[in-house]
Point group: C2
Chain length 216, copies 2
DNA sequence: ACCTGAACACCGTTCAAGT
DNA sequence: ACCTGAACACCGTTCAAGT
């Protein structure tokens, strides 16, 4: 049944959270759900398909709770453009980042495996709808969705996987490389507030989107 | 010697290009360079360290040829702000995308492994320098570097790994999900020119950067 | 229909041994 | 100093067999 499949994916996600993605094996997952390794195959197909299933499992976690895009406020007249898309964008982006923090190892799968699950298509459709209502020209809508989703996924992944690791200047000096611009920036490089940075990035991207909106 | 290490990394990259990252094993790499698997260890340390070495190998390929950032043109007076950063950004972004096309499998490592190699620091420093010369406030420079590099890496990775796969509407209809915004957009979703999209994205990001430039 | 267990062809890495 | 080969504890997956 579909219930057992979910149980298997939950076990795989738990192992990834606890011991990393490399620890997810057919054998370790099977042991956690109390089955033989081969008993997983009817439910997940293969190891690769299990990882694809994990992508669906992650995206499913994204949309729990209230809807992705808040409802249109009743007071918005035809003359003034709705600004709800801004809050919708922020909500989705912040949920994505929270998801990465909950499941750092498994989150990388969202960037490495093409996600054409119904869950993914639904999220994309909500963003399309928001951009259309915001007044972005239809021909730019899919591009802007990809631009923003690429940034949000990439930022969240980079943050939890250490790509943004602040490089210790002392350590760098010991290696003997001189980086003039790093020296110029100095202390600015050390004090990073990731929450504030993500907020600032979203503000800039909102401004970018607003600049594309055709008058009307 | 350092020469043999390079030879080992080249072999690993060749295997990744030909048969995917999963095909890169200590055994397969060793066989390609004509050594025993254990003979690799003094040069690369471990399998994980070998993959980190591959990140350095990839970034090294980025900066071959001319410099990352073109020279300052002689005619730029003190009154007018240099616009060279635009070309520098485009050059680096396009090289990154070309790198992803040359090494699709190995490219994912740039997003999953923290790269604190000298090669990476040098590239980042060049971008810092460009943004500073463009007039971006110092406090915003590292943030904008991360914003742009995250997008460029994410776009290139998504493109070569199929995350941007155009979903066939017929196939989606067969699955029985209805996506209103997808229906509204219609044909716009099918005709995608990735070169043009990347260009448009870079233009938008340049505009975003220009909007941050303080007058002077 | 659903599950098991042995087996096959692989892994990364340790260790004792060779030159 | 540099390399080898056997061995250990793992993999994903096939296959024949059980209930």
């Amino acid at each position: 049944m579909e219930d057992k499949r979910r149980q298997i994916l939950d076990a795989a996600l738990a192992i990834a959270d606890e011991d990393g993605l490399d620890a997810v094996s057919m054998r370790s997952v099977a042991a956690r759900v109390g089955m033989s390794p081969m008993a997983l195959y009817p439910y997940v197909g293969s190891k690769a398909a299990l990882l694809d299933g994990l992508v669906g499992r992650l995206l499913g976690e994204l949309s729990t709770g209230d809807a992705l895009r808040p409802m249109q406020p009743v007071g918005t007249g035809p003359g003034q453009r709705s600004q709800e898309w801004r809050e919708g964008l922020r909500t989705l982006a912040n949920r994505m980042r929270a998801l990465a923090r909950r499941h750092p190892s498994a989150f990388m799968l969202l960037l490495s495996r093409p996600s054409v699950t119904p869950e993914a298509a639904g999220a994309v459709d909500a963003v399309y709808q928001g951009l259309l209502e915001a007044g972005v020209p239809p021909k730019d809508v899919p591009r802007i969705e990809r631009l923003v989703s690429t940034f949000v996924l990439g930022f969240a992944a980079s943050e939890v996987n250490g790509r943004f690791a602040v490089d210790d200047p002392q350590l760098r000096a010991r290696r003997g490389v001189d980086l003039p611009a790093h020296k110029t920036l100095g202390a600015v490089l050390l004090e990073v507030d990731w929450d504030a940075e993500f907020e600032a990035d979203l503000r800039d991207l909102e401004q970018l989107i607003a600049s594309l909106v055709r008058p009307g």
